[in-house]
Structures are given as C-alpha cells and as structure tokens.
Symmetry: C2
Subunit: 202 residues, 2 copies
C-alpha cells in the first residue's frame, strides 16, 4: 500500500509538502548558510520551533527540500526529453531553453547548488551531485544520439557537457534582472550559442 493510510497522516503529509515547497524556494534562492529557519517559518506563518516537529534540523530540512526541488526539475527535463519531437538538434535546443528558463524563473540561485557544493553539508552534497548527474544524463542522451546519427560533432563529450551546464546554470546571474521579453531573447541567443558546441565544422 502506497501513500498515507488515514486522514491524520494525509494531513501531516500535506503540511510537510507546504514546508518543503517554501524551503526549496528559499534554499534554491539563497544557498544553505544564508537561509535561516526563522525566515522559513515566517513564510509559513508559523514559529521556528514548529519546524522541528516535522524535521530534525536545518540539515534534514534542506536535504528534503533539495530532494523536492531536484525531483521536480529532473522530472520536467526528463519528460520534455521524452516528448520532444524533431531532430536531435531541435530537441537539444528545446532542452537547453527549458533548462535555462527553469533556472532563471524558478530557482534563480539554484546554481549555487551545483557551483559551490563545498559550502553544503556533506549529506547534501551527495543529493546535489546526484541531481546534477541526472540532469547531465538527459543532455548526454540527446548528445550521444546526435553524435551517432552524425548530426553533431564535438571535440569531447565531457567538456562539451560541462561547458553547457556551466553556461546554463550561470544564466540567472546575468539575465535575472532583465525584463521578461528580453529574457526570452537572451534564452534564445544562449541556446543558439550553445548549439555551436555540437555543430559540425566543415
């Protein structure tokens, strides 16, 4: 039997989800150290102490929150990869755009997750690494496909993926402050630019 058994457990489950949603947002925005539990509690119109009823501590809360964030993000990427139509190039471009859009619009500082994992407690590092591995996996699959079909040409798969990932993760920093319509143009430009990494040369 999956899921909560009775009304009480369901209620608790919903509460946990609310907390995780807020926590994911804050940890995604600010990183680990810069989030304090009072802030999380305040956003839930609740007191800090109450969080400890659901989670053993900051680290556990952050771990669960990252899990949530990661699962959501990964799921969307994977679904997109599964449903996207067209050539490998078209699909890769779609993925890049979507990934950048999620990063910028929803987790504007989630790059911290990937870029400075050393500041996170050990337990979290593993989750973050795993999350990144799964993201990479989605991109790698399309990349390999395009390579095998001869549609793409790359110097080295590893550094191509690294470069792509770096550029995408960093996007929030330089286009978070742009107005929305310019953001869209920036996403397109970045996607086109990154496609050059896989384009064949004469």
């Amino acid at each position: 039997m999956l899921g909560p058994v009775n009304r009480v457990e369901r209620k608790r489950g919903r509460r946990v989800e609310q907390i995780l949603a807020v926590a994911a947002e804050l940890f995604g925005e600010r990183g680990y150290d810069a989030v304090n539990l009072e802030d999380v509690a305040e956003r839930l119109d609740v007191t800090k102490g109450s969080l400890y009823y659901y989670f053993a501590g900051k680290e556990q809360l952050a771990t669960a929150a990252i899990e949530t964030l990661g699962t959501d993000w990964t799921a969307r990427l994977e679904e997109l990869a599964a449903t996207a139509e067209g050539s490998a190039a078209q699909r890769l471009r779609t993925l890049i755009r979507a990934h950048v859009a999620i990063a910028v619009r929803e987790y504007p500082a989630a790059l911290r997750l990937f870029l400075v994992p050393r500041t996170w407690p050990d337990a979290l590092r593993a989750r973050i690494t795993e999350m990144r591995r799964r993201h990479d996996q989605v991109f790698r699959a399309v990349l390999v496909e395009g390579l095998e079909s001869g549609e793409f040409a790359v110097v080295a798969t590893a550094s191509t993926l690294q470069a792509m990932h770096a550029a995408m993760s960093q996007a929030p920093l330089w286009c978070a402050d742009l107005p929305v319509d310019e953001q869209d143009r920036a996403f397109d430009e970045l996607a086109d630019t990154l496609m050059k990494l896989v384009s064949p040369v004469p």
Copy 2:
C-alpha cells in the same frame, strides 16, 4: 613621490601584503561568509585582534584582498593578450588555457567571486563586477578582432562571452581533484571545446 617614505611605512606595507596574500587565498577559496578572521589570523601566526590594527573590519579586509587577487589575475591576462603571437584563434586559445589554469591552480574557488556575487557585501560586489568586466574585456578584444578579420563567426557576442566565462570559471569544480597531467589534458579539451563557440560553420 610614490611608495612608502621611511622604513616604518615600508615594513607596514610588507605586513599588509602578507595579510592580503593570505586573505585573498582564503576568500578566493571559500567565499565571504565561510571565511572567519580567526582562520586568517592563524595562518599568519597572529591573533585576530591584530588584523584590526591593519584593517577596519572583515569587509574592508575582503575588499582589499579581492582587489589584490583581481589586479594580479587581470594583469596576467592582459599581459598575455598583449604578448601572444599568432592568429586571433591561436591567441584566444592561449587566453582560455591560461585563464582556466589560473582559476584551477591558484584560485580554485574564485568562481564564487563571479558566480554568487549576491552573497558578498555591496562594497565588494562593485569590485568583483569590475574585475569580471576587465577579464571580459580581454576576451572581447580578441573575439572582435577575429570577427572583423572573418576568422570567427558567432551567434551573439554577449552570450558567447557569457558561455566562455561560465565554463572557464567553473572548471575548478570538476578538475581540481584530477592529477596534474590529466588536468592539462582537461584544459586542452576545454579550450578546444570553447573554440567551437567562435568557429565558422559551413
């Protein structure tokens, strides 16, 4: 009259340099919050209180340290750009390699300076932005040159530079732990990969 006038001031100047060297290393490695002044002091075989004789506070110390780090790094890039021989492509590749090597070998976590500037106090943000602007300037110059001579083709100058910068800054994260000889191969691969961003397509 430039420079310190008497022996006392020279001595003080040297002490300040020692402190800044250590501070630049630590701030470059760990970011702002994660550095505490006790650590800085300990590395200098000195007490925390003593730092306050030379600097008004953590923020001022960090500002000066970043200044040092930035000046050194920028100067080396600029000198390399000025002395490098060959086509625009050859020079760009040289710059990329050098930049990555400096990032990985000397300031292994300096990417935090660029990547998460929102965690730094306002005063520091300006310095960091300026440092990055100067780095970009060096690359932009070569890029524009190659474009004008028809050697390069890019989708958009801005996102090309962004992508390059992102990939280079992030390099320390994924190749800091490699043995030195593999690092060199990784640098080469990354440089070759990034050159694709400017390569003309048929």
